[in-house]
Symmetry: C2
């Protein structure tokens, strides 16, 4: 095992109706004005907005709003939020939504206390020294953003989809009520499943030191996600399956599966970020396309772990069979597994690979992921 | 899954030589005088004391000392520490040692800011509202105390071994350097393994709602502990095995395996606490005696989970075979598996059961664990 630091200060309130705690939780921290971030107007129709604002009012908390945050959230919207937060002098940011809303909220929280351009944090020109406290009420289980210090944003001018990582943007409190995720349609449930699996297998397959203990946790998460996804595709109101799916999503990216593993890379996320930045496809859909293609290119570099993966998760004896089984499972749950299924033509491969190569350069992995390697991977898709 | 709150603010520094960080970590929190708690004088002989105090000095941190804390730590020593902490006006408590030292440090930290008798917290007469910050450098991996808010102390007047649980006594920082645990003799390594396994299987076997996801984490921890214990008994300097063992111990009682499970009980710990309070045997040794006996009495109440336990952990088809396999494994690693092996006669059973029955009353489980039930369990041992 490799030396590590683990610190995850986020408090989780998990369960039915827990959103009712938000007012008292914020008031306890002597906060009386917040920026409320959300995506579509759906939360106003389904009653969640009313519930939350009633509890804010009851606790004497004023708010200003930033609605209309989209999937694959964009920098221009983040900048709008930062301007609003500064002008209105808010003391905290509350996200109601999925990963995109929370990632925007985290970015706004950091940018609101910074004099420069928030994009500086994404390109490594500055590091986050402080941020407004972040609170979250999740309506989608997928990104794991509710219990970590990561945020991914697309610069809509440059089409770069980059991320920040800081202890200062861990949510103070994340409220996970599985019932709130129930209205997610089946295709997005499938994309979420792929995203969660991707979060754990990137490290599992790329870390050169991968202890058994961490592997077991990863396998437990993947098994749980596969099992509960199949239940939920049949019956979206199965509370227990939804709860296990939700909690597995949180555990998948809260640092626990990678603590003590060797420096690992997230090549599938890196490649997918370019796909979704350029073609605006759902992140999980992009991952379902990239992962089997990447695996086919990569598996000979870590044969023992790929064999373990095939055996434990699919009862298969070879890496190839394991990769096929995963790809088939992605297809079975309704995720696209080729570029053509997502309407992306062969001709776009070079452009995508260029965009990825820039990110690889920035992440210091361009010696492994050169443009020609990325093109080779994408041709597998 | 059942609703839950999860909040674990402890920071972990894990790895070789990490104890060198203690001075800067404490100084960062603007603390300049601490109470340093430890057990035997061993830390003065092996250099750890010198390393730590050098880093305290370097960072301008003064200290007073409370040495001589024993296993199954006692209230009289805790009170001595509280008096010293109050008199010397220390701002934090640093534990160097295993679970007993850290449990004492947590109790002192809570008692130092309380006007009444610290035992009030243990018997439920008062609840902990605040505590001095607690820091830990662990020299034994077993109790999980490094990443939770529990502390167990024996009242040496009344022979009651009771515990506290509070968010205020979670260590601010726990330093886990697996190398520091290397000098633990084989019998104590075995007792530690039993203790870790007990921490996870109590909930696994008694929760009436036990989701697959949590079961998988428990099984991963048990498999890791069994595997690494066998390696370490052969070769105590295998760093990787020791690191996995250490981290599994921490994960076993940091709340993650029980989050979302139904209210569970810790009957084996409850029974064992009376054994070690009355006979001063090692906690893990006592657990190795109690667990198979309790399992034999209990398994018919949760047949599906016992079958799962037998199958996944030992490849056995029945609960009985699984219980025997665990008992045999305890014996194989050198832990006692009967009262007689620990020099406790049949005649003592009634006295032990009386002591346990008092704790059961206090824990609100006396309707299940009556004195006659406890006697029946102990007769299995």
């Amino acid at each position: 095992m490799v030396d590590f630091t683990y610190h995850n200060p986020t408090k989780i309130e998990f369960g039915k109706g827990k959103e009712a705690l938000i007012g008292t939780a914020i008031a306890q921290n002597h906060i009386n004005k917040i920026l409320l971030c959300y995506g579509s107007e759906r939360i106003k129709k389904d009653g969640l907005y009313d519930t939350v604002t009633a509890h804010l009012k009851k606790n004497g908390i004023a708010w200003v709003e930033l609605g209309g945050i989209i999937s694959n959230p964009v920098l221009s919207k983040v900048n709008e939020g930062i301007a609003l937060a500064k002008k209105e002098n808010v003391q905290a940011v509350l996200a109601i939504g999925g990963g995109s809303v929370l990632d925007s909220a985290k970015s706004i929280a950091a940018g609101a206390l910074y004099a420069g351009d928030v994009w500086d944090f994404f390109i490594g020109k500055a590091s986050i020294e402080k941020a407004l406290p972040v609170y979250a009420i999740m309506t989608l289980a997928a990104t794991g953003s509710e219990m970590n210090g990561f945020a991914v944003v697309t610069n809509d001018e440059t089409q770069q989809k980059y991320n920040i990582a800081s202890i200062h943007v861990y949510p103070r409190l994340s409220i996970l009520n599985p019932v709130l995720t129930q209205s997610v349609p089946n295709n997005y449930l499938a994309y979420s499943a792929v995203d969660i699996i991707a979060h754990v297998i990137e490290g599992y397959l790329t870390a050169s030191v991968q202890p058994h203990f961490q592997s077991r946790m990863v396998e437990g998460i993947v098994q749980t996600v596969m099992e509960t996804t199949e239940i939920l595709l049949q019956n979206s109101s199965d509370y227990n399956a939804r709860a296990e799916f939700t909690w597995a999503a949180t555990q998948a990216l809260n640092g626990i599966t990678t603590a003590g593993t060797n420096p690992y890379v997230f090549p599938n996320h890196m490649i997918e970020h370019s796909l979704s930045a350029l073609f605006n496809i759902a992140h999980g859909a992009g991952l379902a396309i990239v992962i089997p293609a990447w695996m086919r290119w990569y598996h000979t570099q870590n044969p023992a772990q790929f064999k373990r993966f095939a055996k434990i998760l699919f009862g298969k004896d070879s890496a190839e069979e394991g990769i096929n089984a995963l790809k088939n499972w992605f297809a079975k749950i309704g995720a696209p597994v080729s570029l053509s299924e997502a309407g992306i033509s062969k001709e776009a491969i070079e452009k995508i690979a260029q965009n990825v190569a820039e990110a690889a350069e920035r992440q210091g992995v361009s010696h492994i992921y050169s443009q020609s390697v990325i093109e080779a991977i994408l041709r597998n898709a």
